[in-house]
């Protein structure tokens, strides 16, 4: 389950308050209390007293929604030693709130145990929840956030807003600290490419530590391709040929999460990067004028639209959600699906034993593309943050340092079938087919790993405008590529002009 692409199919509570309390008043009450136990006068006095209480209570509550925010006492710094390079106060408590999603909570509990062993006098308060925002937003507002948060899932808090409001701690001390396994190597040198850059939003500080590592691309069954006697196609002509061959056997070429068309970019964006170079993707992320009008974008949109025109898209796809499309694909109704590496875990119960799951970097147009075949999108998932107002932020960072050790990383990979930000950590454990293929794809990509930031920087633009209103309409055949590009460019321009949105730039 990807942090930024998890669908919210959960009913998250009533927005409208119908105010049932209004009906809770006393409906009937004997009027003649003169002779009964409690005198009428007493009653009046008592209710008046209650009424009086509620007045100061109100002024107290007025501070509730957005009040507080006074400086909290921070834990004193401990002594910096070789074993404790961050200088954690070994008696201070540490609070860690984890998103309890597709990766579960076991991996974090294991890491907490190590923290407790290393600092036996410290008490760690660990909790896991799916409701990150509902539990933590009030605590940020009151200035009493926990020390480490896995800010993930459908209730992810907007990190651009958090950082611009000075709510996040800079993680540079952690990155510059010696790594857990090798004191001669800094933590930043043990991470996979792009992880540190992703943690930046504006300028040098690193606000976010992405722990999981996701490989995006075109996912398929090697067995299905073998039975068609085909290889994964490297040029678009070959792609169309494979789809045609499949169509003759009654198999659709592609399907995608029709109800969440922002899954299409998982293979479309790296394809644009491959065809036109990384600059095109950067220009798109930077919301530069006419970024979408680049010929590479048009070529890729035309290529994808061709899939629709030739009838290679599974029938009914625009009405399928991510689970339904993955299920149809796992049943063998379609060959290819754009997705991320969480699909192996998410659809584990429908993917057959002999499916031989594999991922490939996206197919390009032809040999004139700027970057070689193998150019892939891979980036961090599960964003961990340390709040600026945390009592024991150093403790939170130390917990992260522990999690970024080889042993913890291996533990994560073997438990939840996903890579981590730690570069390596796959030796000596048996990898699932999808994971093996992901590691191979990363090796093949080498330097050519692209990392479009649209989905972290401009959620609304990426999801409902580029995704649903643009690509979704085009792939359903209701817009031509030229119309789609114009529409998306207009949305991007509007976002660039919107002063209520925080803007970012590639450094």
């Amino acid at each position: 389950m990807g942090s930024t692409s998890a669908e919210n199919t959960e009913y998250t509570g009533d927005i409208a308050n119908t105010g049932d309390i209004a009906n809770a008043g006393p409906a009937t009450h004997p009027a003649d209390t003169g002779s009964a136990g409690v005198g009428r006068r007493d009653l009046i006095k008592r209710s008046a007293a209650l009424g009086l209480i509620s007045v100061p209570a109100m002024s107290f509550l007025s501070a509730c929604a957005s009040g507080g925010g006074d400086d909290e006492e921070k834990a004193e710094a401990g002594e910096k030693t070789a074993k404790n390079p961050l200088g954690v106060n070994d008696t201070a408590g540490m609070e860690f709130v984890l998103f309890d999603g597709g990766f579960g909570k076991e991996y974090a509990e294991d890491a907490v145990k190590i923290y407790e062993t290393n600092f036996p006098e410290a008490t760690v308060k660990f909790s896991a929840t799916q409701k990150i925002q509902s539990t933590l937003q009030p605590r940020f507002n009151q200035g009493t956030p926990p020390d480490l948060i896995d800010n993930s899932g459908a209730e992810q808090m907007d990190m651009g807003v958090l950082s611009s409001k000075n709510q996040l701690a800079d993680l540079t001390p952690l990155l510059d600290a010696p790594s857990y396994d090798d004191p001669d190597k800094k933590v930043r040198d043990t991470l996979r490419p792009g992880i540190v850059e992703m943690g930046r939003l504006d300028g040098d500080p690193v606000w976010i530590m992405y722990y999981a590592y996701t490989v995006y691309g075109v996912w398929y069954s090697q067995k299905a391709l073998d039975s068609l006697d085909e290889q994964y196609p490297e040029t678009w002509d070959q792609m169309l040929a494979v789809c045609e061959k499949a169509k003759k056997q009654g198999i659709a070429g592609w399907t995608y999460a029709g109800k969440y068309p922002y899954y299409i970019p998982f293979s479309l964006y790296p394809m644009i990067g491959k065809v036109g170079g990384v600059e095109v993707l950067d220009a798109i992320d930077n919301l530069e004028p006419n970024a979408w009008r680049h010929p590479a974008v048009k070529a890729c949109f035309d290529a994808y639209y061709e899939l629709y025109r030739k009838g290679y898209i599974l029938k009914g796809t625009p009405g399928l959600d991510h689970i339904q499309s993955q299920t149809a694909w796992a049943k063998g109704d379609a060959l290819f699906i754009p997705n991320g590496s969480w699909v192996e875990n998410e659809s584990a119960n429908v993917i057959p034993e002999d499916f031989n799951l594999a991922v490939s970097a996206p197919t390009g147009i032809d040999s004139s593309d700027k970057l070689p075949f193998g150019t892939i999108w891979a980036s961090g998932g599960e964003p961990f943050i340390v709040p600026a107002k945390a009592k024991n932020g150093t403790g939170g960072m130390e917990q992260l340092r522990i999690m970024l050790s080889e042993a913890s990383s291996k533990n994560f990979t073997s438990k939840v079938k996903s890579l981590t930000a730690y570069n390596g950590g796959t030796d000596g454990i048996t990898l699932t087919p999808g994971l093996t293929s992901g590691v191979a794809a990363l090796e093949k990509a080498g330097e050519n790993v692209v990392n479009p930031r649209m989905q972290d920087w401009y959620v609304q633009l990426q999801k409902e405008q580029i995704g649903v209103a643009g690509l979704g309409e085009m792939m359903a055949g209701r817009l031509t590529p030229a119309e789609t590009i114009k529409k998306i460019q207009d949305y991007a321009d509007a976002t660039a002009k919107d002063s209520s949105i925080k803007h970012y730039k590639h450094q």
Partner: protein, 308 residues
């Protein structure tokens, strides 16, 4: 009971009124206040920005689209739901043919069974209903398209929620399905309290089913219908429409903004985009729409009360 009567009443009302003010009126005032700020919802610091949010809202295409859909929900859903519920309740309670030896006024055969069946959806949470229907609307393997295929309509395989022209109607149908049962039961209870003599008199005068319905049942049921109308309108503007749109639709709110509603937009702005102040601004607009709806229904529906 004369001396100090008002003091006595006030004494009793102080607590409930205090609670009401604290938990209902006060949040309203607070959110109106926040709509004049730039509060993100994620940090305690914010400043006043005057009418900026309102200006922005008036120029926001998505806001107008949401408003349009919300109004359509508020106008159309009560008409369809209450109309259907009245018809069903009438058939269950009054519409039956006279059977030999039976009571004069009776429902169609098996009406008590129907009453229970109609009420079933009410037992399910709206979230579950929405989820079930999003399976049913699956164009590939969903129940609806399978039935269409089953009866030989292979060429009619709509995308339902994936089609911008159908999605909004598909969502509305779910709301009708899930709420109509409640109103059937509500109206049945109302009809049961209408004296049988009135029906008998109408029958003796030779009134048919539709005359009986429009001349006897509906006027005597008017109060119930009216409150049902307001209730249904609020439901369509508020929580229920949020749940179905959020759970079922593309995006949610799509395809291409064809199903977005005000409550969904409030939610997205507050909890996805970190723009709580702007969200409360839309919330204020929603409040005005809701109040206006209730006022209009009350005003249009005002009639003389019939005593019986």
């Amino acid at each position: 009971m004369q001396h100090g009567k008002y003091r006595f009443i006030v004494g009793f009302l102080a607590v409930p009124l205090g609670l009401y003010t604290l938990f209902v009126v006060w949040p309203f005032i607070q959110s109106i206040y926040y709509s004049f700020t730039d509060w993100t919802g994620l940090s305690p610091d914010f400043k006043m920005v005057g009418f900026d949010n309102y200006e922005r809202m008036l120029n926001d295409d998505i806001f107008w689209k949401s408003l349009q859909h919300s109004l359509l929900f508020a106008l159309l859903l009560p008409v369809v739901t209450i109309g259907l519920a009245l018809f069903l309740a009438f058939m269950i309670n009054v519409g039956g043919r006279k059977r030999k030896g039976g009571p004069v006024i009776t429902g169609v055969r098996g009406s008590s069974f129907y009453k229970i069946v109609y009420f079933f959806p009410q037992v399910l949470s709206i979230a579950i209903v929405a989820l079930l229907f999003s399976f049913a609307y699956n164009p590939d393997s969903g129940a609806i398209n399978s039935i269409l295929r089953g009866i030989g309509l292979d060429s009619v395989q709509p995308l339902w929620l994936g089609d911008p022209n159908l999605a909004l109607w598909a969502v509305m149908a779910v709301l009708v399905w899930s709420t109509v049962g409640f109103f059937v039961v509500l109206f049945s209870a109302g009809m049961a309290s209408i004296p049988v003599e009135l029906y008998e008199a109408a029958l003796l005068d030779g009134a048919g089913r539709s005359t009986t319905f429009f001349r006897v049942t509906l006027p005597l049921l008017w109060d119930t219908v009216q409150s049902g109308w307001v209730y249904m309108g609020i439901l369509a503007l508020g929580a229920e429409s949020f749940a179905v749109v959020q759970i079922m639709t593309t995006g949610p709110g799509g395809p291409d903004y064809s199903t977005t509603v005000l409550v969904l937009y409030v939610y997205q702005k507050a909890f996805r985009d970190g723009q709580a102040a702007y969200a409360t601004t839309i919330g204020v607009a929603l409040l005005i729409v809701t109040l206006a709806f209730a006022a209009i229904v009350m005003r249009l529906g005002r009639r003389e009360r019939l005593e019986y």
